[in-house]
Symmetry: C2
Subunit: 159 residues, 2 copies
DNA sequence: TTGCTGGCTTCTATAGGCAGAAGTCAGATC
DNA sequence: GATCTGACTTCTGCCTATAGAAGCCAGCAA
C-alpha cells in the first residue's frame, strides 16, 4: 500500500465512480430532492416547498436529474384538470436508497438532536426498520474497520 | 401517506439527518478527501494532488473536517525530520465507509466506463469484495423497492 | 546562517449558485 | 373571451467558491 501511495502523484478522479456519483448527486439540494422523491413527492411545487430552495434552482436541479436519468418527467391528468407533468423515480434513482439510507444512518448517529427520527425506513414485508450494512461476497457481515480499501486500475492515473 | 403529504407544506430540513449529513460531507471535494483518507492518505500535499483541488480550498476543507470531528490533526515525526502534522480518520470519519461504499456501488453500476474498477474494497478477513446492502432489524435482506420511506416526527415542521 | 521543504495563508480575479420578484404559457373553467 | 392555476423562465443582484500565484513560517541539514 505504501509503495502505491509513493509511486503515484495523483488519481484519475474523472474515472473514479465515487467522483462521478458525486458529480450527479453530490449537492445538498440534489440529495434532498431524491429523499423527497423517495418519500413520494412528485410535483414541482411540492419539491420547491419541501426542499426549501427557490424555483429557478429547483427547475435546474430537476432538469439535471431528468437528464441524468434519475427522474422521469411523466404526463398525467387528474379529472377536470389539464395534462400536467410529474417527476417519477427511475430504477437508477431508486437504487440510491442504499446511499441515502447509509447517509441517514450516519446522520442519525453523528448529527441529530432530540426531536425524534427525521425519516423512517421500514421493510415493506415485516415493518422492521431498515439499515445499510456492509457485506462481502462470501456472505460475511463486515465491520467498518474490517474493510481494506485500495486504489484499483481505474483510479490510478493513466500516463 | 397521502394525507401526510397534503397536510404539510414543508419539512423541517434543519432537523433532517440527511440534510445535516450533507451539510458536513455533502460536497464532491469533501467526499473525495474522505475517500483518500480511507485509502491511507494522511498528508496535506498528498490530499492536494490526489483530490485535485487547490491548496486554499484543501486547507479550508481539512479545517472543516477536523472541526466536524471526521479527521484529527496529529503531530508525528519521522527520523531526521521536524515534527509535522497528519490527518487521521476518527471513528466518526471511518463510519462513513457504508456511505462511500454505497456511493461507489451506485457509481460502478450507473456511472463507469471500461477502464476497470476505480476502488477496490475487500473484507480484511477473507479478501472478498464488500458491498453495502440493506437489512431490516428482523434480519431480512431488503431490496431497494421493498423499503417504505415515510417522514418521521423529526422531519415534520413544528409550528 | 543559509538554504530547503512541507504546510499552510494571503491576494486577486473570475465563475457559478441562489433567492426573490416578476413575467410567461397552456389549457380547463366560467 | 376572460380568468385562474400549476409549472415553469427570465432578470437582477448578491454572495460564495475556486483556481493560481505568491508569500510566509518552522526547523533540520549543510
Amino acid at each position: 500500500m505504501e509503495d502505491l501511495r509513493n509511486d503515484r502523484d495523483s488519481w484519475s478522479n474523472a474515472n473514479c465512480s465515487i467522483a462521478r456519483a458525486m458529480d450527479i448527486v453530490g449537492s445538498r439540494s440534489t440529495i434532498l430532492i431524491m429523499r423527497d422523491a423517495l418519500l413520494g413527492t412528485r410535483r414541482f411545487d411540492d419539491f420547491v416547498r419541501r426542499v426549501g430552495i427557490g424555483e429557478p434552482a429547483m427547475a435546474a436541479r430537476l432538469k439535471e436529474l431528468v437528464g441524468a436519468g434519475l427522474l422521469e418527467r411523466i404526463p398525467y391528468r387528474e379529472p377536470g384538470q389539464r395534462t400536467r407533468h410529474e417527476y417519477q423515480l427511475t430504477a437508477k434513482g431508486r437504487e440510491l436508497v442504499p446511499v441515502i439510507t447509509a447517509l441517514r444512518n450516519w446522520g442519525d448517529t453523528w448529527a441529530t438532536d432530540d426531536t425524534g427520527p427525521p425519516i423512517l425506513a421500514t421493510h415493506h414485508d415485516c415493518g422492521q426498520p431498515v439499515r445499510a450494512v456492509l457485506r462481502c461476497e462470501a456472505g460475511h457481515d463486515v465491520a467498518d474497520g474490517d474493510v481494506d480499501i485500495i486504489a484499483g486500475p481505474g483510479l490510478i492515473r493513466q500516463g
